[in-house]
């Protein structure tokens, strides 16, 4: 369940995410608050990994670092064979645009655009011709079951439908890595698992890698691994197949569980 030994070269070539000894803190001087304290993480291609843990444990910060939105203070972060420390802001933006898809907790759709236009945004940013973008967006909306909402604006959609549009937007550019931040937090008991089921189907079917930050225990069953973070460290890895992860009940853990996950 927990990998204690360092990976060999063959393992590394298959890894979409390689994080070693990452530290991150907010603030300076006496007000400095450590958020990540030596995180190590390996995620293989095609894997669906969930980051779980109590509030303030560093889940979103780790996801932001993986998404090239935030920089680590110390440590090495390799995403899709790119060393983030070596990338300039423009190159990071291009990496995000071309190879990473984002799903946000509050959808973050653009209200002035229709569902189809929203989905087409990443392709528009890449400079894809409008006709191609719109066709691809239509295909994605069909894939998430919203073929009848193509011309509808976000304000006229339900929360579940908005998240499906956001999911389509994340996937339309055929990214290798999907990063989702609490994707079911704004959804009800029916829509949450449905969206995650859709995400899993659309990512694993095409060999994409997904990292999902979540509190939602209802969706743990969709993960290949659930990594439990506490106090800025990954303290346990749980296989969802197991009956009920102990940490989900007690949230207490022995320090020696941490390591290269």
């Amino acid at each position: 369940m927990i990998t204690q030994h360092p990976p060999n070269d063959d393992d590394l070539s298959r890894h979409v995410i390689r994080v070693e000894g990452v530290y991150k803190s907010y603030g300076r001087g006496a007000g400095c608050t450590p958020v990540l304290s030596g995180v190590d993480l390996l995620v293989q291609r095609g894997e669906c990994v969930y980051l779980a843990g109590p509030s303030g444990s560093g889940k979103t910060t780790l996801l932001s670092i993986l998404g090239c939105i935030l920089s680590a203070d110390h440590g090495s972060v390799m995403i899709l064979d790119q060393d983030l420390a070596q990338l300039r802001p423009r190159a990071r933006a291009i990496l995000r645009r071309d190879r990473i898809g984002f799903v946000f907790q509050r959808f973050h759709l653009i209200h002035g655009l229709t569902a189809q236009d929203n989905v087409a945004v990443p392709l528009t940013l890449r400079g894809t011709p409008a006709r191609t973008s719109r066709r691809r967006a239509l295909e994605m909306l069909e894939a998430v079951g919203l073929a009848d909402k193509v011309k509808v604006h976000p304000k006229q959609l339900s929360a579940g439908q908005c998240q499906r549009v956001a999911l389509a937007r994340a996937l339309v550019g055929d990214p290798e890595l999907i990063l989702a931040d609490e994707p079911t937090a704004s959804l009800d008991a029916i829509n949450g698992p449905e969206v995650m089921s859709l995400l899993l189907r659309l990512t694993t079917a095409q060999g994409k890698t997904a990292v999902v930050v979540t509190h939602d225990q209802r969706i743990f069953r969709f993960a290949d691994r659930v990594l439990w973070l506490e106090n800025g460290r990954i303290v346990e890895t749980v296989q969802p197949a197991s009956p009920q992860p102990a940490l989900l009940q007690t949230a207490t853990l022995q320090p020696q569980h941490a390591g290269m996950i």
Partner: protein, 374 residues
């Protein structure tokens, strides 16, 4: 980028409308203010512009067609002998007092025309013929000045400079920069109304031979009669306009009002764009998070600003055309030159370009991390 920029702009109709009103207001204000200014200042050179003379010859340092100084009429023969001069005629302009039927009086600008050639005579006649001033005591007045002169009719008598004058014709739209109405009559009668000596006049109006260069003829006239100044029509018209622009501060006051209009437009557009961005910070954060470059973000703002500028300017010009159609009169002419319209549109585009920089600076500081912290 175009579609994202335009669709998000149109989606917020309230702010779009506010910005369009701002641009429209700016363009309309600049054009109407400018049009009124040029209409007003055009009056200062109207006598020159429409006087049929190619060259105006007058006293040294002459600076205003309506306020001339006497010159000896005997020098006319010297002017007539200058090569390139086809015709030169004396012309007189001066102020006399007209007694009105009510017992009141009105100062008028008497213009005396040489009766043989009628060079510099009244134009746009609505009643009477060009040679009607040859009739006994005949004067031509402008119908726009009816109220000042207590509505004279054809054949009505007035006392002008203590002498009898009879209205024999009317024109429309001959109004000077001074508030005094123009009264056209013959040269000799004008001298009598103005109590001038017979041997003086105000100007020599010159028509040049076909193909002759007015500037060259002017130089020759100055050499032949060094006591006088001479200018081509366009130049003397501009000198007369400059007189009022520079000596009255008219240009500065109109310019300041116009600048104020532009400034208001700039503030409205900048404020609206900024508010538009503040309302949609999350959306710009999302765009940055999913990989939009700084250039793409600025392109969105630029397209939005330019769209507002173009649509607002077109609407503004339409409003200006309506105002011009409805309110242009000889008393308050609105003369809008093409360069003024294009110039104001160009300025508004420039202003919108500058205005788009303000929200851009805000977005540049925007951390895409915000979308993950909501």
């Amino acid at each position: 980028m175009w579609s994202i920029a335009l669709k998000t702009l149109i989606a917020d109709r309230g702010k779009l409308l506010t910005a369009l009103v701002g641009v429209l207001f700016s363009v309309a204000l600049v054009n109407v203010q400018g049009g009124l200014f040029f209409g007003l200042i055009r009056k200062a050179g109207m006598l020159v512009d429409c006087g049929q003379a190619d060259i105006w010859v007058g006293h040294r340092k002459m600076h205003n067609v309506d306020l001339p100084r006497d010159i000896p009429q005997r020098w006319l023969d010297r002017v007539r002998t200058v090569p390139g001069v086809k015709r030169a005629e004396p012309y007189i302009v001066g102020v006399a007092s007209m007694t009105l039927p009510s017992g009141g009086y009105e100062d008028v600008e008497v213009v005396g025309v040489e009766p043989g050639s009628l060079l510099g005579n009244a134009w746009n006649l609505t009643q009477g013929t060009p040679d009607c001033i040859l009739q006994s005591d005949g004067i031509v007045i402008d119908e726009c000045e009816y109220e000042k002169l207590e509505r004279p009719q054809i054949g009505d008598l007035r006392e002008l400079g203590g002498r009898r004058a009879r209205v024999v014709g009317t024109s429309r739209g001959i109004m000077g920069f001074l508030i005094m109405p123009y009264v056209f009559t013959t040269l000799e009668r004008a001298k009598a109304y103005l109590h001038k000596r017979d041997d003086v006049c105000s100007y020599f109006l010159v028509q040049t031979e076909p193909g002759a260069d007015a500037e060259t003829v002017c130089t020759a006239i100055r050499q032949r009669v060094p006591e006088l100044d001479s200018y081509p029509r366009e130049q003397y018209s501009q000198i007369s306009k400059n007189y009022w622009m520079t000596r009255t501060g008219l240009g500065i006051s109109f310019g300041a009002a116009t600048l104020l209009g532009l400034l208001v437009g700039l503030i409205v557009v900048a404020q609206t764009l900024y508010a538009l961005v503040l309302d949609r910070l999350g959306e710009f954060g999302t765009l940055k998070a999913i990989g939009a470059s700084e250039r793409q973000i600025y392109a969105i703002l630029l397209v939005q600003a330019m769209s507002m500028a173009v649509v607002g300017a077109v609407l503004g010009l339409a409003v200006v055309a309506i105002i011009q159609y409805a309110y242009h009169t000889p008393m308050a002419p609105i003369v809008i030159a093409r360069w003024l319209s294009w110039g104001s549109c160009g300025l508004v585009l420039l202003i919108c370009l500058v205005a788009s920089a303000l929200p851009y600076l805000r977005i540049r500081k925007l951390d895409p991390l915000m979308v993950l912290q909501s």
